[in-house]
């Protein structure tokens, strides 16, 4: 029957092929078509759903940061962080405040303070400021006579505009909130540490209590209820300043407008949002 069919097919198409060859060719065409249809169906099954999700996301917020929904964008605050190294005294109060606020395990830091010492002979030394301050710590004393310039540099997450940590995350765990906070969904995080390695500022670590990546959130939970981040609240000398940079009347905007500020590793193009006062180019 099939042979007959093939034969008639052959005649209809008016091809000059013989029965044997024709059958092989037909089978090849069939396989080709069926694989195309299968792939097509799979792709179609996949597409409408993702396209739906994507378009929802774009109108609601995904593309909003790039100018999607103007009404929302108008009202959406833009936050910034200013660190004044000319004021920092290295007391470590911010470190304790952060640890307490965010349950940071011992040995990890969401924020830390470095001490940069520029010696007169041109060398630079970088120390980590102890959490309890220098009193009682066994930090070796530095002879003030040999020091040209020295200052404390508090470090924390820069909440980059174009965050590398975000880009490498293989699961939807690392994301940027509509307010511009770079955050981690600990439920989704698989703890692969890609982001830990990707961050050029070294602010991420694996929290062994939760098994997920962890880092400074600029105290997202506090900011969302109009409180200052814990480290800002704790600083006795006002070396840390947090606020809305889109509001020209805010303290941070006024300070940034008045004094020159820098960001860390600007050449990497990550768009860091923590601005520093009074650091030299050795600080990275």
């Amino acid at each position: 029957m099939s042979e007959k069919n093939d034969h008639s097919n052959c005649q209809c198409n008016d091809s000059n092929c013989a029965g044997e060859v024709d059958e092989v060719e037909l089978r090849r065409q069939f396989l080709h078509k069926i694989s195309t249809i299968t792939m097509g169906t799979m792709t179609l099954a996949l597409f409408p759903a993702t396209a739906g999700d994507g378009s929802d996301g774009e109108t609601a917020g995904g593309a909003d940061l790039a100018g999607g929904n103007p009404a929302d964008k108008e009202s959406r605050p833009v936050y910034g962080f200013l660190v004044d190294t000319e004021k920092c005294i290295g007391a470590g109060k911010c470190l304790t405040a952060c640890r307490v606020e965010n349950n940071v395990p011992e040995g990890n830091y969401r924020t830390w303070v470095e001490r940069y010492i520029h010696f007169k002979d041109g060398t630079v030394q970088v120390d980590l400021v102890p959490e309890e301050g220098f009193a009682g710590s066994n930090m070796p004393k530095v002879d003030p006579e040999s020091v040209d310039r020295s200052y404390f540099v508090p470090k924390l997450c820069n909440h980059c505009e174009d965050a590398p940590c975000n880009q490498v995350c293989p699961v939807p765990a690392s994301y940027k909130s509509p307010e511009g906070f770079e955050l981690i969904d600990t439920d989704q995080c698989v703890g692969c540490s890609y982001c830990v390695q990707a961050c050029p500022y070294g602010v991420r670590f694996i929290n062994h209590d939760t098994g997920a990546a962890d880092k400074c959130t600029w105290c997202y939970h506090r900011v969302m209820r109009d409180e200052q981040p814990a480290c800002v609240e704790a600083c006795p000398v006002g070396a840390r300043l947090f606020g809305r940079v889109d509001d020209p009347e805010s303290e941070i905007s006024k300070r940034i407008a008045k004094i020159p500020t820098q960001v860390l590793k600007e050449h990497l193009g990550t768009g860091p949002k923590v601005r520093y006062v009074g650091i030299s180019e050795e600080v990275t």
Binding site: M1, I34, T38, T41, M42, A45, A49, D53, D56, G57, A60, G61, G62, K87, I89, G90, K93, A97, V100, E101, R115, Y116, I117, E132, G133, F134, A135, G136, M139, K141, V142, P144, S150, Y151, F152, P172, A173, Y175, K176, S177, L183, D185, T186, D187, Q188, T217, Y220, H221, R222, M224, R225, E227, Q228, A230, E233, A234, C235, P236, V237, G238
Partner: protein, 186 residues
């Protein structure tokens, strides 16, 4: 009807294939719908409720305002003090339990909170509150180290005691013996 039987027989392998394709496609969509969190994609390629979870975290680090709700007198005492920028929690700890107790006591007269004069070591630990009077409290900020701003008050204890004419290096034992408490002055 013969041709129908023949058609079914000859195309049975195609029907099997069609069934497999449909079944695996449906299975894929089912598993996908189960695995993708509900709020995924609301703002972007992540779970939108993750932000709600995060925003629901408690503010543990208490600002002075919380303490001053009850301790107004301390607020007045400190209003003009140089150390107004030093937070209550820096010297007294978080006192989370203390705040809980105090809030309860404020609501109901049945609950009372022990007066400060009754505090002992155990009690302080229990309510997560303490009074720190050792030198380290002051020296956490004022210890003279390289790196501090020029105009910040730096203290070298040995030097300072000698200047002040103290007899022994351990006497007075704490800074507070000379420098007062809440209105600590230079």
């Amino acid at each position: 009807m013969n041709w129908i039987r023949a058609f079914v027989r000859d195309t049975r392998h195609l029907w099997t294939l069609l069934f497999l394709v449909v079944a695996s496609g449906a299975g894929f969509l089912f598993v996908r719908s189960k695995m993708i969190p509900e709020s995924f994609g609301q703002y972007g390629p992540y779970r939108a409720t993750a932000m709600t979870d995060l925003a629901a975290l408690p503010s543990r680090f208490q600002a002075d305002a919380t303490c001053l709700e009850c301790h107004e007198d301390v607020g007045e005492e400190r209003a003009e003090a140089v150390h107004i920028t030093v937070r209550c929690v820096h010297c007294h700890g978080l006192g989370e339990e203390h705040i809980v107790q105090a809030r309860k006591a404020a609501e109901s007269s049945d609950v009372s909170i022990d007066p400060a004069s009754d505090w002992d070591g155990d009690f302080m630990t229990k309510i997560d509150l303490y009074i720190t009077k050792d030198r380290a409290t002051c020296l956490a900020c004022h210890e003279s180290v390289v790196g501090m701003p020029e105009d910040f008050q730096k203290i070298d204890v040995a030097e300072h005691l000698e200047e002040m004419g103290a007899g022994e290096p351990e006497d007075p034992e704490t800074c507070f013996e000379c420098h007062g408490g809440h209105d600590t002055a230079p």
